[in-house]
Symmetry: C2
Subunit: 506 residues, 2 copies
């Protein structure tokens, strides 16, 4: 296949060409796609480019000009690629130099149904959207007459099983932090003896100086290599990398080992089961003994920023049992895993829990954020305890409703399960051929939420761009795939062609 | 004037009438406005209602139905009034029952240029807005080619004097928290010996378990009765009311007395100067001695949620000197005071500082959020230290640009200074007539950012609604006025008529 690939006319478009007035505009077709007829597959978005096109080094000269201008006023050191979104479409991101890349990173896993998706375009032009944009309400004080309907036909239409309430927020960090606040208020209320027991004078005076008992020494337990956000409370539960945390004061909250599974899973069944058992025992030990009492455990279904670390449904079932038994809440952080990418709408749907999580947080692909809950006791006992001026953004909630509509119309969750199976299977073949380059392949049966380790990960990602593919990393050495839900077999074939080329050269 | 008011045909519309099919739709004209010819003044928005209209008790029957539906899925206990934003216009907020209220609360001080402002409508329909809505970027990684231009023609066009950089955020809380993070990183970098000194192994391992030295015991000093937000870091600097803080773990950070000025100011000159001196001495003592070293001081130009507490320019000049002398940052929280309401674009413009604040945070009327800074050392020394997925929202930044355009077109900052002077003068007259009802009138020369205390504040606010006026409170007993920037003399007259009526009945 290698020589076939090299001979492919299309593949020339994936190599870097010298900068300058770009004239090449031929179309790309994956050899793999031709071979297995998925090139005949229709795109969900008919006007999508047929393949990537790389006409300059990235960043090209025009991008460099924009970056230099931007850098005067805005830190650009984490800039990955400058984009032209008006010219991006579907799975393809464009830049000002005319480069068009297959985007399997998707704004850090946050574009659900493609750039310039026509259904979202229509929603964005609607009167309701425009009113929400220009008349932004303080939702807790002055909700609009249609806010209940926006919630019921949108955010709550896809509420996780067993959860029927929502507190809306702005992004993943504050979704998690408001969930933590709900957990602390719930736990203290139990200790106090119920919702009708008034705060003591001592609680009210001590909290004004940030001291206990009013500001209690309680904690949220998180897991090693977890990521839950970067504000002060969420960052105290984030354990992914020092660079995220250095120099920022943190709460004395506990961390528990997360299972360190060995791959391939089928060759390490007993070892992995023992590892998960060990972690569950550690979790229960911390919950029972940590000096700052634990109000809740927060966990990602798949640790995403931390390197795509998975655990089995049995582990999460065990965690649910332990948290229930010890009367602490289980908060499932679905900020990155939610909204279809794992082949279920919510990744925790894979666990088949009889007793649902207490709280599920969401953001990213929802394009809005917040937390779901079901237990009415998680509404604090008095108004204004869980409150802020905007409490989310109806404009973004309306967009999520349109996203949900598109997911349903195109059956994108089932689709993603299927294309994920195909993609996983093909990478697995590559991994057998190039075992050093595709280590610890993970995400089987988890839709397109797939990752592997590569010893030269950063070079791998950089070179992928020159081949017309935008991919992200996570953790120390993981290549993480986060395609959109409209990622199809023919896109997978382009990605796989690129992987094969990278396996040979990086 | 009282009998004239009662005789006014218009005023009947301000009283509660029985619920039921509303037939009354006559127009309201303030007697005060007729008397001083401001009724002839043209509205900035020509199609604005001429006055409030109250046709049912609030909430009326239709609102009650919507509230009951909303309450099933969303906590409504802090609900003030259900709104129909499609039918609201300019300074007037409407509800589903046909009530139309003059809105001098404006979504907790966050609507700048009126409901359904035509210029914002146009911006909301623009291609750039629509693209920003449906192609939401991860701004730190993949900014759009026009992001520099959106910043320069919008957020940065109104940057406070001396500050030319911005970090964009989502709302007031995370604007403040990211500013605090910048302060901690700056302070630790100084201690470490500059941007090129690498983190130690001990710092990197200790921060992963939330312990020093990697997660240092440093602090942000705030002031008593301050409000800076409700996430864990911002809440640790908020000192307004116990209900905001109870049961939520907090950092051991210090608070300093804020001047408790006596009114009228001109009768307490020496006393107030002594009070400000005392507070400044306390501030310096805390900065020099607090056991968790202070990296920054955060202060509101006017403490807003805490009850509209003012201090003089001399106090803030002193605070700038003290923070500079002690090498800690001065963060000015302009979330509520910014964007014109005080008769200057930024409230701290009133201070005439030669040495600008290190950081100024903004949100609310900007409809987007973030922090300004000027010192390049406030960019952390490495990428990804100050970072998150979305880092703000270009759609909201585009809206701020349109707001700025409207402020410039209508000269709304100077206008607000003038109408504020008029409003203050007239309330001052009422205060002389009804001293018990308008205590501690404050905000002279501060645009429409005016407040007073009323011993029956909550009843005052409630009854104002039945008179067709939506007003907010703050602190324990303050009535705070937060009209929009398009609030004009004829609106002021309607408000003043209402105040006079309230003074007699509450």
């Amino acid at each position: 296949m290698a020589s076939a690939l090299r001979a492919s006319r299309g593949l020339r478009s994936m190599g870097r060409v010298a900068a300058g007035p770009a004239r090449c505009s031929f179309k790309y077709t994956s050899v793999r796609a031709l071979a297995n007829s998925s090139s005949a597959e229709a795109s969900f978005l008919p006007d999508e480019p047929v393949g990537p096109k790389v006409v300059t080094p990235i960043p090209g000269p025009k991008s460099q000009e924009h970056i230099a201008e931007l850098n005067k006023v805005f830190d650009t050191r984490s800039l990955n690629m400058l984009a032209n979104y008006q010219k991006s479409y579907g799975n393809y991101i464009s830049d000002p130099d005319g480069n068009v890349l297959l985007d399997v990173y998707a704004q850090i896993a946050s574009i659900p149904v493609g750039y310039n998706n026509p259904a979202l375009l229509e929603a964005a032009k609607s009167d309701q959207m425009i009113s929400s944009l220009i008349n932004r309400p303080a939702l807790g004080n002055f909700p609009s007459h249609d806010w209940a309907s926006i919630l019921e036909t949108g955010i709550l239409r896809v509420a996780p099983k067993g959860l029927n309430q929502v507190f809306t927020a702005m992004a993943g960090s504050d979704a998690n932090e408001t969930a933590y606040k709900a957990a602390f208020m719930w736990k203290k209320q139990q200790e106090r003896g119920g919702p009708d027991v008034e705060f003591t004078e001592q609680e009210m005076t001590s909290t004004m100086v940030n001291q206990k008992p009013g500001s209690p020494d309680m904690s949220i337990m998180s897991f090693k290599t977890a990521f839950h956000g970067r504000l002060f409370g969420s960052l105290s539960t984030t354990r992914s990398k020092p660079i995220h945390k250095l120099d920022i004061p943190a709460f004395d909250w506990p961390q528990c080992s997360f299972p360190n599974l060995k791959y391939p899973l089928e060759e390490h069944v007993e070892e992995n089961a023992a590892e998960e058992k060990r972690c569950l025992e550690e979790a229960e030990h911390i919950i029972k003994n940590y000096h700052n009492p634990v109000a809740a455990v927060v966990v990602e279904p798949i640790q995403s920023e931390g390197g795509d670390n998975h655990a089995s449904p049995a582990f999460f079932q065990g965690l649910r049992e332990i948290t229930r038994r010890n009367n602490v809440l289980l908060i499932v952080d679905e900020v990155q895993t939610g909204v279809g990418a794992t082949g279920k709408f919510w990744a925790h749907d894979h666990w088949n829990l009889q007793d649902p999580p207490d709280i599920v947080t969401f953001s990213k692909k929802a394009q809005t954020a917040g937390y779901y809950f079901g237990n009415p006791e998680l509404r604090p006992n008095k108004p204004y305890r869980q409150f802020n001026t905007w409490m989310g953004d109806p404009a973004r909630a309306i967009l999520f409703r349109a996203i949900i509509g598109e997911i349903e119309r195109l059956n994108l969750v089932e689709h993603t399960a299927n294309v994920g199976d195909y993609l996983y299977g093909e990478i697995d073949k590559l991994a057998r051929q190039y075992p050093e380059k595709f280590q610890n392949l993970r995400g089987k049966g988890q839709g397109t939420f797939i990752a592997f380790d590569n010893p030269k990960r950063d070079e791998f990602l950089l070179k992928a761009k020159s081949l017309g593919i935008n991919i992200g990393g996570s953790g120390a050495s993981a290549v993480r795939l986060r395609p959109m839900l409209i990622f199809q077999k023919h896109h997978a074939d382009i990605l796989l062609d690129g992987f094969e080329k990278l396996a040979k050269s990086v």
